[in-house]
Symmetry: C2
Subunit: 346 residues, 2 copies
């Protein structure tokens, strides 16, 4: 089965996307005929030889010596002196953060009728901005923590009681996130967050809250759920820890949780997933507070595709590839123009 992994991107998460791609390659190369398409920070695409799928290829700029690709209707094209070669295969969108998770590439793949695993543009946009995720979750009946939004030029006056978490609204991987315990830490934490986004979110910080991660996808009307993981407990994962997290490929113990909680987590997952995330393998990160489940965030392109949470990761990817949503084609018949032209006697 052919598939191309698209990774990189002009994003703060460019480097972890490379790590993710290398990890996923290791998990899938025995069952898939994989190609690797790197999107550099200037938005040029390169076809990377499988043997060159190492981090230093990119940090050293060696990808620039490899074949450049262009996105065209139906796939990617490599142009040569004597004609062009077309690469037509489904894509695994593995660009974390901007370009991949903000709906940009989804728009382009849809426009060019290139089938892909990943969130469609609307799903991407709603999960990329944590502020919109709150709206969306509320509309499907999934709880989230209360929040405040602050824009860069707003007065820095907050009503959330200390301690709280400050997050850039549109970044993943804990970049720019701080816990603020008292007023004197506030300005610095806001400055850090505003380095990365014009909009930040403020949420209560609940010490010792239980966290559970659940990944999954829907294919042909049936949801495949991963195991439930209780992620490693640091106060929150900073970027370097998360970075290493993107290279995870071992399998994980199912968290010691009650059947009832698994049921609640799955129910919340399904409400979020359907029908917005069709075509994507997502990981939802939840809190459990006093027996109730709260959505923390949706990762529509989770680190290393959350491969370590699935019993049969390659089988899961195959299953989803066989059931990707397609955009309904709109046919134009020019009825209105014909009727206007005939009314004008032309």
């Amino acid at each position: 089965m052919k598939m191309a992994i698209v990774f990189g991107g002009a994003s703060y998460e460019h480097e972890i996307s490379i790590v993710s791609a290398i990890t996923v390659k290791g998990k899938l190369e025995s069952t898939f005929d994989l190609s690797f398409i790197f999107c550099d920070q200037d938005h040029k695409f390169y076809l990377i030889d499988s043997s060159k799928m190492k981090a230093i290829t990119f940090s050293r700029g060696e990808h620039k010596k490899m074949g450049q690709l262009f996105m065209v209707n139906g796939g990617f094209e490599q142009r040569g002196m004597f004609g062009s070669k077309k690469y037509e295969m489904p894509i695994l969108n593995l660009i974390h953060g901007g370009d991949g998770e903000d709906g940009t590439l989804a728009s382009m793949f849809d426009f060019y009728s290139i089938p892909f695993i990943g969130p469609r543009k609307e799903a991407a946009m709603l999960s990329f901005d944590k502020h919109y995720t709150k709206w969306f979750a509320a509309s499907v009946g999934v709880k989230t923590l209360p929040f405040e939004v602050l824009h860069k030029n707003d007065q820095r006056q907050l009503t959330t009681p200390y301690p709280f978490i400050i997050k850039p609204a549109r970044l993943g991987s804990s970049i720019g996130v701080s816990i603020v315990r008292e007023a004197q830490e506030l300005d610095y934490a806001l400055d850090v967050a505003f380095e990365f986004d014009e909009v930040v979110l403020i949420e209560p910080f609940i010490s010792g809250v239980k966290e559970y991660n659940l990944a999954g996808f829907s294919a042909r009307g049936e949801i495949t759920y991963s195991i439930v993981e209780e992620p490693q407990k640091a106060e929150f994962l900073d970027f370097e820890k998360k970075y290493l997290d993107f290279s995870r490929s071992g399998s994980v113990e199912h968290a010691e949780v009650s059947e009832a909680l698994v049921g609640q987590l799955r129910e919340s997952f399904a409400k979020i997933y359907l029908p917005l995330f069709e075509g994507a393998i997502i990981r939802c990160d939840f809190f459990e507070i006093e027996g109730e489940v709260y959505l923390n965030e949706v990762n529509p392109i989770p680190g290393s595709m959350a491969n370590y949470l699935f019993d049969n990761f390659s089988g899961s990817v195959q299953k989803l590839l066989g059931a990707l949503p397609y955009k309904k084609a709109i046919r134009v018949n020019y009825d209105y123009i014909h009727s206007i032209s005939s009314a004008k006697g032309k």
Copy 2:
């Protein structure tokens, strides 16, 4: 001043986009050096000769004989036997509905660093879905009518009292919209709306409500407002009436409204516009109910760019072109990969 109008698109509003483009051409060709780029329903781009900018060019398929263009970094490219020609100029995105107003082309223009007039992807997605527009308006303190959302497979049980309006969530130009006065009209109206979208919105229908349209844009920190129009009063504009509306080029009388109401409309417009719609000329359609202003909808690419509402339309376009937002470039320095590689001793 060079500018290319991009129009057409694989959208239910494909034909009205053609009409819009022809109208805008008439308004701008004396002050701009215009090019015309047609996006056909198969997502191929063609460079249209100015003399062929007539509706029948497209309904007869004559555009297929003209030069095909490809979107590449920095602009469009025409490929020939002996090399390629690059078209690098700012774009006026004049594709109504899908492709243009849903964020697809905005994503592509941003990805390829092509400057353009039109909503950025986030603005497009939030205004394209009327349901998200409600969330957004509430978050910036602008009122909208109460609403219900129904998905295609939901039970058809509503709580909104009759009469109400049913609208597909993601279409403009009144396509698929019905007024439902009694229970026996409901099923048919829902069937019509679900022809065009999986999600519909139900809103109370307020007979004789006052409607006001206001267009504008922001450039260099200053908002330019159009005049306020009280749109022609049909119960609501059906598609054919709206279609003719897209060819409007004459100027319009300023509605007979109080200074205070103009102030309220402008204040609501500014709340909606800033900072989400930077780079676009939008038209907001408002209701006035008991002295209060309600947002009905945002048209981020209004029919014929609402040229008829501006005293100096070409001057307005010039002003905006000189102040388009650019996406902040993200530079990748490979610090993490370097640090990991050195930790591994490679």
